[in-house]
């Protein structure tokens, strides 16, 4: 799998001319499990940055370009992006066993930790001091999410992407204010948004 993806003719020609950034041989299943577990346990508030550092810089299993191409795929698939990423990377390196190892490394150890926290919360969640601390942490966590939304919104605003902003606001109203079910909203919104994207692309090239 992994060789196939880099063996396309342009890439091979490129590699012959310039000594391209070298990558190490693909890791085994155990190495994949350990690497993804480490990235995941280091990843407070998002694992992506740690995944990039681990895969590209530390282990050199991929070049930065290969990483970006692979991540682009995970970005428009549904579901937790970083989980998709672990499966796609794992399968590039070691087929289905690699995919399972990377996924288990990413999700298993932090899931154990979170389960312990959940048990502690179920037991002590009503203790006054803990309630007050959690109320404060919630405020911080919500603030972080708001800042992420603003950072994501800025490119649309800077490009004066009116159509994109209209789609964004419409989804916000349907889900956030009217509280419609996600499936229903997406079944309407995705076809409309796709159609708009196709029309915009045609007009840009015409």
């Amino acid at each position: 799998m992994w060789l196939m993806s880099t063996d396309s003719p342009p890439a091979a020609a490129h590699a012959a001319e310039i000594p391209a950034p070298t990558t190490n041989p693909p890791p085994g299943v155990l190495a994949l499990f350990v690497a993804f577990a480490k990235m995941s346990l280091a990843g407070f508030g998002g694992v992506l940055a740690f995944a990039r550092r681990g895969i590209v810089e530390e282990h050199r299993w991929m070049t930065a370009d290969e990483f970006n191409e692979t991540f682009a795929l995970c970005h428009f698939l549904p579901g937790p992006n970083i989980v998709n990423l672990s499966v796609v990377f794992g399968s590039r390196f070691g087929g289905i066993a690699g995919a399972i190892a990377a996924f288990a490394g990413l999700v298993g150890p932090p899931m154990l930790l979170v389960t312990v926290l959940a048990a502690l919360y179920a037991r002590y969640g009503d203790v006054d001091a803990l309630r007050r601390i959690l109320a404060g942490v919630s405020c911080g966590a919500v603030g972080l999410l708001i800042s992420v939304v603003f950072k994501m919104m800025m490119p649309l605003i800077k490009r004066r992407d009116v159509i994109g902003l209209v789609v964004m606001v419409a989804v916000f109203i349907a889900i956030g204010l009217v509280r419609l079910p996600l499936q229903a909203v997406l079944l309407v919104a995705i076809p409309i948004s796709l159609a708009i994207a196709v029309v915009v692309r045609r007009r840009a090239t015409a």
């Binding site: 508030g45 399968s91 979170v114 959690l134 109320a135 649309l156």
Partner: protein
């Protein structure tokens, strides 16, 4: 249409379906998690939902682990495991096959760019709805809302490690200010 008896099956059904509709990742699916867990099935109260979101942000690992916490509060360790796997496995299988398909075909298609252009505004809208819903769940007082907005400004303007912001929130909370 939905199984009502066994809570494990309810979790598997809920999150298995959500997995395939979670455009923009786990944080974009928070409104749907809230709708199902708080409004429809009454698994959690509004305050518990806010607490669980805070705990999930405090812990390392992917954001999707908020479903582990929801699963635990519904059906203990088995619920935690069932909810997590249900939320991850369907989309992971999809990712596995999509990646094999795309490696085989040439990378010249213009569809990935079009799909991305279509989905980006959608997922930002979903994230904005998530922000609104967790704000409503967490911020019951004016002081809380003020701390939230301050945290948002600090996070947007500085490159401070997010953990410090969570920690500062926790300390402010302990003093009873919020």
């Amino acid at each position: 249409m939905t199984p009502n008896g066994n809570p494990i099956w309810a979790l598997v059904w809920t999150f298995g379906l959500m997995s395939l509709f979670a455009v923009g990742g786990a944080n974009a699916a928070i409104p749907e998690m809230h709708r199902v867990a708080v409004d429809i099935r009454h698994w959690l109260t509004e305050r518990q939902f806010a607490d669980i979101y805070a705990i999930s942000q405090l812990s390392p690992g992917p954001n999707v682990l908020i479903v582990t916490l929801i699963g635990y509060s519904v059906a203990g360790v088995a619920g935690a495991l069932a909810a997590t796997l249900a939320m991850c496995v369907p989309t992971a299988a999809l990712a596995y096959y999509a990646s094999r398909l795309l490696t085989r075909s040439s990378g010249k298609s213009r569809w990935p760019a079009i799909i991305q252009a279509a989905l980006v505004p959608l997922s930002i809208g979903l994230m904005a709805a998530s922000a609104l819903i967790v704000t409503q769940a967490a911020d019951r007082t004016w002081a809380a809302l003020l701390v939230t907005l301050a945290a948002a400004v600090v996070a947007a303007k500085t490159r401070l490690n997010p953990l410090w912001i969570l920690l500062a929130g926790g300390i402010l909370g302990l003093t009873g200010l919020i």
